[in-house]
Amino acid sequence: MIKKNAGASIMKQVVLINLLGILSCNKPFDAPPSYNGPDIQPNLSIRDLHKMHFNGNFELVLDEWIIEGVVVADDKEDNFYKSIVLQDSTGGVTVRMGASGLYTDYPVGRRLAIKLKGLWLGDYAGLMQIGASVDRTDPAYPELTGIPLPLFDRYIVKKNLNNQLTPKTVRIDDLHDTLQSCLIQINDLEFAVSDTGRTYADVINKQSANRTLKACGVGSVFLRSGGFANFANIKTPRGNGSITAIYSVFNKEKQLMIRDTSDVQMNGLRCTGTGSKVLFNEDFEVANTSGDLVLPGWKNINESGGRSYQGKSFGNNRYAEINAFAGNQPLVISWLVSPPVNLSNSANELLSFQTKDGFDNGAVLQVYISSNYDGGNTPWKAKWVVLKANISKGSVTGLATDWAGSGNISLSGFSGLVYIAFRYEGADPVSATDKRTTSFQIDNVRIVGN
């Protein structure tokens, strides 16, 4: 038994102090404050930095030069590898870095200052770069090495984030070395026909690839993308539009590099000069004017309910018509399928047609597209994609007076041979309720493209 005495109480106090010691080391770690780099100011513009380098040479920076710029390209999508691209108001430059995953420290929009003393200037086939040293392993092709990760903070001072970047808008024939590593925008541009609908790079073999971009006037430039890029497997668009990219060179070759595919906005009509061409046009003017519609290439198929599309005319205009009237059928499904249309040699295809509804009580007409329909008598076995179209509706007491335009429906997501189908779904049961017998008239089905 412990007796109360001086010794024991001293002991107890020591125990207590030690206990407090134990409890106090259980505290959670304080989160560090947000980062504030040293406030250093640039004393050299990137344009003047370029003047310090002679192509093919390597120069060690011996003075306390500091440049500052905003990151315009990082490695978030792995198109830029172990490098970041920095730009100020006078020009841009590529910095070789000895690590990947750089965008976590140096994302696009972050302002950086680089202390150049001790770093090297050089160029990779004409593209000026900053690096840590010269790798002469292959004497024929000496190359700059990246700044080792432990030394990042020695040379690179991180500043504020989310600076706005406005690319400089130029034309292809404006591209020259003063724009190296700058963020630029070129308008009215499109991929060469042979390079449309191709992947940006070879994702299988992880190989980089060049795709040719052409201006509507003269001039062309390569878009270069890496096989490791996250978008390497995405296909190039067929349209015309603008591109935002980093300008780069490889010897005499002018190249653009994108950060990701949102840099490519090419959804407009191509600049073929001849304007848009008609890929398909059906105005039903050679159709029969009574009985089941018969037209070369078209399929008129009733899936359920025995109702087919009819050839009709009104005034001098002929058209197709469908309704579920007097069928005494619980379900009426009828298909009108176009001949195959080839989208392989065109871009920016637009589908349009006109409809009229009559005695609308809820039957539905929809337009579909398929690229795997076999042209046979069972279209419902194929894979169809519904297209968003404006279809005439709401004429409850009679026939609509005017044709309703469907609007221009873009087919640019499709290629190869496609079929367009009109699918009618209604009902005319014996009972008086749930009759859906609306009649629809269809005319002027067109596909244009360029």
Partner: protein, 856 residues
């Protein structure tokens, strides 16, 4: 097996016949039918031996299994020397892995059936109540268990087995803890048949010997005994040890040079002015054991126990997603990675000067996480659900092992006649373990996404491949959430053994057999996107039945000199860890699963005289058909691979000598030598599997024959002087010398593919295949102690004050390497073995512990 039974039966018969015809020697104490043991036990301790402190850091590294030879003092000279002085270089008796040793507390096994290791951490800090320990080496007979080729250690922690006392101790040390308080109180059995003991301790250090290794822990023990009748004793004990400590990593020589010290630890970095360790190990697995002992007439006894162990162990580590490796000793961050000498020199100068570049940059990790605002679409599997915010690219993960174990065991002991003893036991064990990881700290970010980033680059076109759990697509995980992997291992174990001990005038002998049954099964709780068909649910179970038998004979030359010979055969089931190739993601197993066969013999000479005690012995063991699995990054396949090895044969043989010589009444000389040769004696077969798609990439041969078993010196010599004054003062000085210590080799470098096109016998050839041997090493240890009995602190009663000091590595040699391994990486392009040099663990310099105890 039938051979075993035959042996046992014939021994019984022979004894039965002889017992009738010959006059039987008088058995002195029925407790000891083994003469050697009786003699050792008679030599009582004259002073209180220090208790070896298990170094918690060393145990936690996956790459370096570490066997504390013994937890308490033992009378065998070699074992004692090994426990107190050879530990510094992770000496293992006879070179055996820990899985070949067994530890029991009150009859309940303390080995984890999944990896075979004894979980010493379960009772660390309970030194006062774990002194009642017995240990047997090898096949030697004992009455508690069948044993194995390693140690069999049994602890009796029942309340009545504790010394009746009340004691407070304080220890101050510069080892893993700085301060340790311990209290224990034990009251002997009272008139009503009750006895109880309580003990507890707590220990802590802001920083242990190695930088960044803070730790703290507490332990507790309660034991109650109730004598039910004259011959029945019921006991219950409950104990547990909770610990938390920052760990030390093995390091490259280059890192040590850069830091200017071998005590460099890359695991920590400053955060808000304090050292924060990224690898914190935690554990708390309380154990409760109820024991019923019944003594019958005729000296028979039946002891039965029920043990339950429930708790968790965990370890934190860095995890990151699409960001640079945060570990400061990553090989690409070291100056040696730079090909250009100017950059190398420059980087070396800068990194030598600036400690922060050699440690974890926590501030940067927080900054990256706070600045990376990203969106995850279709989050949590809900189409159209976009989660935006600060996405953590660096996190601390916590790998957890949660274990529930229950065991029932019984040991029966009975004399068959005056010269023949029988002992036997049975045990059943069920364990259900769950392994998973969870987010420990988002490091300033708001969420993490449960994706497999390695699958992301390997399978860019398979959106499901990156999902660690396809039932929770694009799962957003936050602090405490389980992610990555989650699986269980269910184990069932049954064991039965029996043994006959005989004692005659000139010989003692024994024979024993054992049968074991083992069953295990993986149960996946996540359906992994890479392996949707074999990750979720229960795997095919594995079942194993094994046997073992052993026999031994001791010839008594006279009352002081003995010769003995033991031998045995054992088959042992492969461990779960050696069978399942990648249990985190799937239930794939090794292609061929075989039991390991072990054969071993041992012979020796013992001399116990008043002025000299010595043991001299020789042993040999063959271990056949071992298996092993490692997972590492393969530079040739540019992918993580599972390396499944089979056909690992080992040959261990050697000699041991222990001498305790009385030079005068006060001075003893102790000497111990362990001289062994441990070889990997086969060419191992490897099946290499891609971790991410389970494709078998190759099957090949590892040219491993005659490589040395690593991780322990094969030769260890100790020489000590012990001085005991007429009073209670004593002083021990011991020098230890270690030779022939090899490090774990990288099998990848010993394959045909690796050596193809390299000139045989060339310098590069030799550098690739040579196993790394550590230099010979020497340490010196000192310990001293004394006790006083007086009226301390003005108390009325006389009390005993005990003082004890231990200094290890007295010469403060900072070059001692305790172990190491070749990195499991090899540059298949350049075939330069020096690109990924070995990593080493360094032993502490001068380290001490001062212990003061007061018996109240």
């Amino acid at each position: 097996m039938s051979k075993c039974m035959g042996l046992l039966i014939s021994l019984c018969v022979v004894q039965g016949v002889s017992a009738q015809t010959k006059p039987v020697r008088k058995v002195v104490k029925n407790k000891f039918t083994d003469s050697l043991q009786a003699l050792e036990a008679a030599a009582d301790m004259v002073y209180e031996l220090p208790v070896v402190t298990v170094n918690e850091q060393s145990r936690n590294d996956d790459n370096a299994p570490f066997l504390p030879s013994l937890l308490a003092a033992n009378r065998d000279l070699v074992q004692t020397m090994a426990a107190f002085h050879f530990n510094v270089v992770r000496f293992r008796m006879r070179g055996y892995d820990q899985r070949f040793s067994e530890t029991q507390i009150n009859g309940i096994s303390m080995n984890n059936p999944i990896d075979g290791n004894t979980q010493f951490g379960l009772w660390s800090g309970l030194n006062d109540v774990t002194r009642n320990t017995q240990s047997w080496l090898g096949w030697r007979n004992n009455e508690a268990a069948f044993g194995n080729i390693g140690h069999t250690t049994i602890l009796d922690m029942r309340a009545t087995k504790q010394r009746v006392q009340e004691q407070v101790s304080y220890a101050f040390s510069n080892r893993s803890f700085a301060h340790r308080w311990m209290f224990s109180k034990s009251r002997g059995m009272n008139k009503r048949g009750w006895a109880f003991t309580v003990s507890g301790s707590f220990r802590f250090a802001d920083e242990g010997y190695m930088p960044g290794t803070g730790n703290r822990g507490y332990s507790y023990y309660v034991g109650i005994d109730k004598r039910l009748s004259n011959d029945r004793l019921l006991s219950i004990i409950l104990f547990g040890s909770s610990s938390e400590n920052g760990s030390q990593a093995a390091i490259l020589k280059e890192s040590a040079d850069l830091a200017g010290t071998v005590f460099y630890n890359p695991n920590w970095g400053y955060q808000s002015g304090k050292k924060r360790n990224a690898n914190i190990s935690k554990g708390h697995q309380p154990v409760m054991i109820i024991t019923h002992e019944q003594k019958m007439n005729n000296h028979s006894s039946l002891t039965s126990s029920l043990g339950i162990c429930v708790g968790e162990r965990s370890r934190t580590a860095m995890d990151w997603y699409r960001a640079p490796d945060p570990r400061p000793d990553y090989y690409r961050y070291l100056p040696g990675y730079q090909t250009d000498s100017m950059v190398r020199v420059n980087q070396l100068a800068i990194m030598s000067d600036d400690e922060s570049l050699r440690q974890i940059n926590w501030n940067r990790l927080y900054e990256v996480n706070r600045n990376t605002v990203e969106s995850v679409s279709d989050a949590d599997g809900i189409v159209g659900n976009t989660v935006s915010g600060m996405r953590s690219h660096y996190i601390l993960e916590e790998r957890v092992a949660a274990v529930k174990r229950i065991e029932l065991s019984s040991v029966f002991h009975a004399p068959l006649n005056k010269a023949l003893d029988f002992a036997g036991g049975i045990s059943f064990q069920l364990q259900s373990a769950r392994y998973f990881k969870k987010i420990n700290d988002l490091l300033g970010g708001e969420f993490f996404v449960d994706w497999n980033q390695f699958a992301e680059s390997d399978f860019p076109n398979d959106p499901l491949a990156i999902q660690n759990d396809i039932h929770h697509l694009n799962r957003i995980v936050r602090k405490g959430d389980v992610y990555g992997y989650d699986y269980g291992v269910n184990t069932q174990k049954a064991n039965g053994w029996m043994q006959v001990n005989g004692s005659q005038k000139k010989i003692d002998y024994f024979a024993a057999v054992s049968l074991q049954y083992l069953y295990y099964q993986r149960e996946g709780y996540m359906q992994n996107g890479l392996f949707p068909d074999n990750s979720l649910g229960r795997s095919e179970p594995n079942e194993f039945a094994n046997y073992a038998c052993k026999a031994g004979i001791t010839y008594k030359i006279n009352g002081r000199k003995y010769l003995y010979l033991y031998g045995g055969v054992l088959t042992q089931a492969p461990l779960f860890d050696d069978v399942f190739i990648s249990p985190r993601t799937r239930d794939t197993k090794q292609e061929e699963i075989r039991n390991q066969t072990i054969r071993s013999v041992e012979a020796g000479y013992v001399w116990n005289a008043p002025s000299i005690k010595m043991r001299m012995s020789g042993y040999a063991a063959k271990l056949l058909n071992g298996m092993n699995i490692t997972t590492f990054y393969h530079d040739g396949y540019m992918s993580f691979v599972n390396y499944a090895l089979t056909g690992i044969d080992k040959l261990h043989f050697g000699a041991e000598l222990g001498v305790d010589l009385k030079l005068s009444g006060k001075i003893n000389l102790n000497a111990a030598a362990s001289l062994g040769r441990y070889y990997e004696s086969s060419r191992q077969l490897v099946t290499v599997t891609a971790d991410n798609d389970a494709a078998v990439l190759e099957r090949s041969v590892i040219y491993s024959q005659n490589y040395r078993v690593a991780g322990t010196p094969q030769e260890a010599y100790g020489l000590g002087i012990h001085y005991q004054s007429a009073g209670s003062f004593y002083l021990d000085i011991t020098g230890s010398y270690f030779r022939e210590q090899w490090i774990d080799y990288n099998p990848l470098r010993r394959t045909y593919a690796a050596l193809e096109n390299i000139q045989e016998g060339s310098d590069q050839w030799n550098r690739m295949i040579q196993q790394v041997k550590l230099p010979d090493q020497f340490t010196m240890d000192l310990s001293a102690g004394s006790s006083w009995r007086n009226h301390f602190f003005g108390s009325k009663l006389k009390r005993t004050l005990l003082f004890y000091l231990s200094i290890n590595n007295l010469l403060n040699d900072r070059t001692i390497i305790s172990g190491g391994y070749e990195q499991l990486r090899f540059d298949t392009d350049t075939k330069n073995p020096d690109k990924f040099p070995p990593k080493y663990f360094h032993a502490m310099g001068l380290n001490f512990s001062i212990n003061i105890s007061l018996r109240l």
